[in-house]
Structure formats: C-alpha cells, structure tokens
Symmetry: C2
Subunit: 133 residues, 2 copies
C-alpha cells in the first residue's frame, strides 16, 4: 500500500508538468524541474540531454516552434521510493508545428525527487509509440 497523500502529490507534480507543456509556458516548465544540474531529458527520438541549461533550453525551443500542444494523459502509474518517485504514462497529443497538425502517442517515464517538501522532475523520457490502441 502506497502513501496516498504522497502519491497524490506526485500525480499533481506530473499534472503540473503537462499543464506547463500544454500552455507552452517556459516559466512554469522551468519551475517544475529540479535546480539540480544532474537533471536529464530525452525527447522522442532525441539523444539524451543532461544539465539544467540544456534541458530548459530544449523546452524553450520546442515551445517557440509549437503553436498548439494539446494533451490527453492516460494510463498513469506511480511508484513511490521514499523521497523519489517514478511515473509512467501515455501522452495522446495533438500539436501544431510549422502549420502542420500532428497527432501521436508518446510513452513516457517521468522521475521526481522530493526536494524541500516539493516534488520536482529530475528526468523525462518520452518515446514514440508505434502501435495503435
């Protein structure tokens, strides 16, 4: 049995991540990431990014090139590991980039660490889902 208030807090952090993503709001996105320079990020098809500046800059670049980013986040599963948590979920997304509408599904692993009472993301790994469903 997992600690339900903590699970809820992690789910809220995960939801805040996708709210920032959907709002294309770099300040919100920056705030939900840990300040630790060991943060990492794998966007679908991209190589690994390590460090606060490369990770936040990558989001700024994505947001600057997207007109619309709509998410439906499904199949969310959370596992708590003391002050660490890992979340898996599927992003059903519709985006408009360079005037082109794209729909797709991304399978995601998000890692969170509780720092000074706040759950912050330390790693995001999104990958294209190739089967339909």
């Amino acid at each position: 049995m997992q600690d339900q208030p903590e699970v809820a807090a992690v789910l809220e952090a995960n939801a805040a991540f996708y709210r920032a993503f959907g709002a294309l709001d770099i300040d919100q996105m920056s705030a939900i990431w840990s300040r630790d320079d060991s943060i990492r990020c794998v966007h679908p098809g991209w190589p690994l990014l390590t460090g606060r500046e490369p990770v936040i800059d990558s989001w700024a670049g994505i947001f600057n090139n997207a007109a619309v980013m709509q998410f439906d986040i499904v199949d969310v599963e959370v596992t708590l590991e003391a002050d660490f948590a890992w979340v898996v979920c599927t992003e059903r997304l519709t985006s408009v980039q360079g005037g082109q509408v794209a729909e797709g599904r991304v399978q995601t692993t998000n890692l969170f660490r509780k720092e000074a009472g706040q759950w912050l993301i330390v790693h995001h790994h999104g990958s294209p889902l190739m089967t339909r469903g």
Copy 2:
C-alpha cells in the same frame, strides 16, 4: 559526491542486464529483475508492460526471435537516490532477427532498487534514437 561503491554496484547490475540481453539468456534476465509485480518495461516502440509475467515473457519472446544481439553500451550515467538508482545509457546494437541484420541505437532509462542488499531492475525504457552520431 556519490557513494562510489554503490555506484559501482549499480553499474554492475546494469552491465549484468546487458550481459543477459546479449546472451539471450532468459534465466539470467529473469534473475536481474525485481520479483515485485510492479516492475515495468517499455521496449522500443512498444506500449508499456506492467507486472512480472508480462515483462519476463516479453524478453523470452524477444530472445526466441533473435539469433544474435550484440551491444556496445555507451554514455552511461548513474544517479543514486538512497536505495534507488536511475541509469541512462545508449545501446549501440547489432541484431539478427528472422535472418535480417539490423543496426540501431536505443536511448535507455533503467531504474534499479536495492532489495535485500542486491540491486535489481524495476523499470526499463528503451526508445529508438533517430539522429546519427
């Protein structure tokens, strides 16, 4: 500064995972995974698998269909979180499946938990890397 003996132990667990994978040895692969039924796995392009039986069965299926699986594991980064650890690495792999040779790169996140003194894998997320390098 991370705990170097623990980092070494996680790296060894990660290496054991890839030895089992390269040997196409389901017993070795089964042994390196946690017995916990919350284990999860995302093979490149696949949807999420959750639970010990679906995860181990998926490896058995991959091993049964592969004649050769050769790995070069590069850019390994480890972060310890008490009795939990996350590893990112890139798999440069050559496989032979159904008589076809395939080469590719997979960007991977592996999560490990220390259980009864042993680091065991609880989540594997591999995704196709689309850029060259």
